[in-house]
Amino acid sequence: VNSASSDNIITVFDDPENFNVKHQLQNKWTLWFTKPPSGKQDWNELLKEVITFESVEEFWGIYNNITPASELAQKSDYHLFKTGVRPEWEDVQNKHGGRWAYTFKNSKANDEVWLHLMLAAIGETLEDDDDNEVMGVNVNIRKAFWRVGLWTRTAGQSPKGKAAEGADPKESQKRLERLGKAFKEVLQLPAQDMVEFAGHAESAHTGSSRAKAKYSL
């Protein structure tokens, strides 16, 4: 430790009440919550921004003081997205994207799985520096299952008429497959359990989130 940088550095591990440095994340993140519908609201009104943060310490202050996924009611979602991206297909930044997803066939979420997925996102361990695919992660609590997702910027194809914008479908597919592999590792799934990728455009077209998987790993 050189003396210049060790001057007066107090981390949260030294003193949780008087620390003077915090650990910055590469990106700012916003936590969103989808409330279960209770009548006639639009999905839009059910989607609420909870908080935005940009340090490791802030993340834990939030995580330690918010309802765990395992205690959420059916039809709730948490979404943790890069700040400035709405967790919706319709967001212009998600329009040409897709998501990796895995569905667990029990009704109670495993908090550790969701936590590890969030940590991989904010810790930037899911993708290579230049891949720039990760938009956010989410968890959906449903009646007989729960599901985690990893939303991506591209979906392995040039958007119609946009080939000139430099979106190479083959490169996109390679990035997405690397990402899917990392996603599966974070979830610690056995090899035979498949994570599946679908483009948002296809999902929107079929009118449900059960679009035919485009890739599976």
């Binding site: 590469q26 202050g61 918010i66 309802t67 361990t125």
Partner: protein, 98 residues
């Protein structure tokens, strides 16, 4: 509103520390207390980004438990809390007496 809690008027020392703390410089070598692991150096050599491995991040879980703001419990209740329909959500249960 009998269940309404009285919030502390002042931020806690931990909240204030979080607010005033500066960002640690990325290449700043930090001496963590004994038993605390630094972020995986291999990860940070391989990446330009600020990257933190799971084991490093998990060390904070039991150490930093401050609520983000003094009105946080109310905010969680308002944002996650039950809708109009009774029993439609269980948000806010972390603060209930159960």
């Amino acid at each position: 509103e009998t269940a309404k809690r009285v919030e502390p008027a002042e931020p806690t020392p931990g909240m204030q520390a979080l607010k005033s703390a500066r960002f640690l410089q990325i290449k700043q070598s930090t001496a963590y207390p004994d038993g605390i692991k630094s972020p995986n150096p291999a990860l940070n050599e391989a990446k330009k980004a600020r990257a933190y491995d799971k084991d490093f991040l998990l060390q904070f879980q039991k150490v930093f438990k401050e609520k983000p703001t003094i009105d946080w419990d109310q905010k969680v209740k308002d944002t996650l809390g039950p809708g109009d329909e009774p029993g439609s959500a269980r948000g806010g249960s972390i603060n209930s007496a159960r």
